[in-house]
């Protein structure tokens, strides 16, 4: 039990910190959720990503030959910690570099990798993940967007028609990976294929969705006769599910940490607020909640330390990291709600100039529901823990062995 970095880790942290001190200040821009996806914010993020890439701090675990840092997972964690402290972590690249580009690296041909990996690392091109559809979110494999071949040759193009939804960043992304149905006559998992696509193609139409949190981070995306080359295929025809699993596995590692106020801020708020008997901080019910959040957030922090320990011992963290999002998303929602309630009627105010902490509690209250859904709902994550960590059987599958076209859909 030792929280200190090993000598090598400490040296890396020192170097990273010094570099951040030198470089970060020029790239700091206000951020939060809803994300201010203004051109200036995006430009700042891209410039920062480029600077990191040049210094070997982007995609730290990837080989230097493809633009990565040639480092270890623990170095990557250390850098992220320091980067967050320096106030320069941007969300734009998480999905692309965390999920899409690794999928391209695993399944693309050499020319594709040559073309895309390095620009993505440098932040020149941003990627989105087009999986979810109105008919398939948790059950992604129920998706209906079709790709059919135009012609007979082995290199014949594909034509895609259909709709995706909740696609984060689609409106500012350059490329995307898309999962589509290529064979409706076989059970749902067997008829899928993955492609990369150009988001600027006129056959791709993006309609931003107004979120309950007020932001417009995600989109509906429509494909009308979108023509893609067979060389844009990632993995074999009909093997899309296997490819998607690789993406989703990476997703569980990439999503997780929740930004937002923690127990310290709620405590600070309650200290100055009038409660039932003196300051709200003296309210017994409030104190018990506060204790529970402290215990949970420490639990989460130290669980990350345990993951880091596994990484520094050369082990790979498994599906148990699913607990992180379950705890943090629920906690953010509860904590924000209690803080807002403690404000009394005033708690309904969201004007940043009037509300404590620039209305960060109100923002979190409205953002937390999304956090409990994105990247796997609480329920799906519990299934993952039950099945993959505890080894319990999978749910009953009403659609198993049924051709997709005969599957019950509810509409």
């Amino acid at each position: 039990m030792d929280f200190n970095d090993s000598p090598e880790e400490a040296a890396y942290r020192e170097k990273a910190r010094a570099w951040l001190v030198e470089n970060a200040a020029a790239h700091r821009v206000e951020h939060g959720e809803p994300k201010p996806t203004t051109p200036e914010h995006m430009a700042a993020a891209k410039a920062w990503q480029a600077r990191k890439a040049a210094a070997g701090y982007a995609c730290i675990t990837w080989p230097a030959a493809i633009g990565g840092g040639g480092g270890t997972p623990i170095q990557s964690v250390i850098f992220s910690q320091e980067e967050a402290k320096a106030g320069v972590s941007y969300g734009y690249f998480t999905i692309g570099l965390g999920m899409c580009v690794p999928t391209v690296m695993a399944f693309g041909d050499d020319a594709t990798k040559q073309r895309f990996v390095s620009p993505a690392v440098k932040g020149e091109e941003i990627w989105c993940q087009l999986f979810s559809e109105p008919a398939g979110g948790s059950d992604v494999a129920a998706l209906r967007t079709r790709a059919v071949r135009d012609g007979d040759g082995p290199d014949a193009d594909w034509v895609i028609n259909g709709q995706k939804v909740w696609t984060t960043g689609a409106h500012y992304c350059d490329y995307g990976i898309v999962l589509v149905r290529t064979d409706p006559d076989v059970p749902k998992h067997k008829g899928l294929t993955m492609f990369w696509i150009d988001m600027r193609d006129p056959a791709v139409e993006c309609r931003p969705i107004h979120q309950m949190s007020g932001g417009r981070d995600f989109n509906e995306v429509y494909f009308t006769d979108l023509r893609v080359k067979d060389s844009q295929r990632l993995g074999a025809v009909g093997d899309g599910w296997k490819v998607a699993l690789v993406t989703l596995m990476n997703e569980r590692l990439a999503v997780g940490g929740s930004a937002g106020p923690d127990y310290r801020q709620v405590m600070e708020l309650a200290r100055g607020l009038p409660g039932v008997n003196g300051p709200a901080l003296k309210d017994q019910a409030f104190r018990e909640n506060l204790a529970d959040w402290y215990v949970n957030s420490q639990g989460l922090k130290f669980t990350r330390f345990r993951t880091m320990t596994a990484l520094s011992r050369g082990q790979t963290p498994g599906p148990e990291s699913s607990i992180g999002k379950i705890i943090s998303a629920n906690q953010l929602q509860d904590l924000a709600n209690t803080a807002v309630e403690a404000l009394g009627e005033y708690g309904i105010l969201t004007d940043p100039s009037l509300a404590p902490m620039e209305a960060a509690f109100q923002q979190s209250l409205m953002w937390a529901p999304g956090l409990r859904i994105a990247g796997g709902t609480d329920e799906i994550l519990k299934n993952i823990i039950a099945e993959r960590v505890l080894g319990l059987p999978g749910d009953v599958r009403a659609d198993k062995d049924v051709a997709f076209k005969d599957m019950p859909t509810g509409r």
Binding site: E268, R287, E288, A291, V295, Q298, T303, E379
Partner: protein, 371 residues
């Protein structure tokens, strides 16, 4: 970052698990449960002494093994898994830790070697009735080195040779070491929620009392002692919670209902996933507290409180939901679920309820936050 047991500690823990599997199957626990005359298993106690566990953290100079507190935590975790029916916590986490942290050289020399050798059982006597004990309500008192008063309930009080007693001295609270075999003490065994651990009423009438630590500091001292004990108890609770999850999992994988194993039903799967999440939160907090205890960090009070709250929550949830997963079988005397359900209550109350610890935690955070 090295935030886990070391290989040596893991080895010790594995050995402890094997040892307890052989020496403390549930038949041993039930031997104490079913026999009102037994307050602990004397054979297991001797065996544990022979393993050196009673003196694991006691310095070699005082007859112990001189290991660290993390090693003791690893042992505690396994004792908790096995719901071991022995006065280990009272003797080792409370008495030995108290004497090591606050005793004079003479007290250390007199007490620690006997603990390490398995010749002296300890207990903590603070409570005097229902509710929380406060300085103004404290009745037991010491005059001219002699203790009078009643302490109820005292966990392991019927087996103990020595009690650590909270009592007034000249109007100020103090902590006293009392030799229960030296006269002036009446011991009545009482019935409790968890009969695998003895509980007694101790009536003192002129028993010789030897002060531990400074005069008038009894409450602060008791709290410091409970901070240390809380960390070790949290590991027992964690071990118990883990075992509950395992038992529930095994049962769910073998029990059929409506043509399928119940482990395939999501209400059951999610219950087990919730147990897992709570256990991991408890484990992470417990590890941090183990570190704080081991190096005597200033963070110990907050770390101990967080570990205790998380572990109490995890064990309570796991023990009650494990009964639920076992259905009617879970409600029978014959299935082990109730051993854990009982122990979860015993461990949650024995060093102050989680509510008290939450209050303590927030007070500590207030202090830290104000500074």
């Amino acid at each position: 970052m090295d935030f886990d047991y070391s290989d040596d500690q893991k080895f010790l823990k594995d050995e402890a698990r094997k040892f307890l599997a052989a020496r403390c199957p549930s038949s041993v626990v039930r031997g104490v449960l079913d026999d009102p005359a037994k307050s602990y298993d004397a054979g297991l106690w001797r065996a544990v002494a022979e393993q050196g566990w009673l003196g694991a953290a006691i310095p070699e100079a005082h007859g112990g093994l001189g290991l660290g507190r993390v090693e003791l935590c690893a042992i505690a975790e396994e004792l908790g898994r096995a719901v071991a029916p022995i006065p280990f916590a009272s003797t080792v986490y409370v008495l030995a830790e108290a004497v090591m942290a606050h005793g004079t050289e003479a007290q250390k020399a007199a007490i620690l070697p006997r603990i390490a050798a398995g010749e002296l059982i300890g207990c903590l006597a603070t409570s005097e009735g229902p509710g929380v004990i406060t300085p103004s309500a404290l009745q037991a008192k010491v005059e001219g080195g002699k203790l009078t008063g009643v302490k109820i309930p005292v966990t392991d009080g019927d087996a103990a040779d020595m009690a650590l007693v909270l009592a007034n001295e000249g109007g100020r609270p103090g902590l006293f070491l009392v030799d229960l075999r030296a006269g002036g003490v009446k011991v009545d065994t009482l019935e409790s929620l968890d009969p695998t651990r003895g509980v007694a009423r101790l009536t003192f009438d002129g028993a010789v009392a030897d002060r531990l630590g400074e005069a008038g500091q009894g409450f602060a001292l008791a709290q410091a002692i409970l901070d240390r004990a809380a960390v070790l108890l949290a590991f027992e609770q964690l071990g118990g919670a883990d075992r509950c999850l395992e038992m529930a999992r095994e049962y769910a994988l073998g029990r059929y209902a409506f043509g399928r194993v119940i482990a395939g039903y999501q209400a059951i799967k999610h219950k087990l996933a919730d147990m897992y999440v709570k256990n991991e939160v408890a484990r992470s907090n417990a590890y941090y507290a183990a570190w704080a205890l081991n190096v005597d960090a200033p963070e110990l009070p907050t770390a101990a409180a967080a570990a205790r709250i998380a572990a109490s929550d995890a064990f309570w949830f796991a023990s009650k939901e494990s009964v639920q997963v076992h259905g009617g079988m879970g409600f029978t005397w014959d299935v082990d679920c109730h051993l854990y359900y009982r122990r979860s209550r015993q461990l949650s109350l024995v060093a102050g309820s989680p509510k008290l610890w939450k209050e303590r935690l927030v007070s500590e955070l207030e202090k830290k936050n104000a500074a």
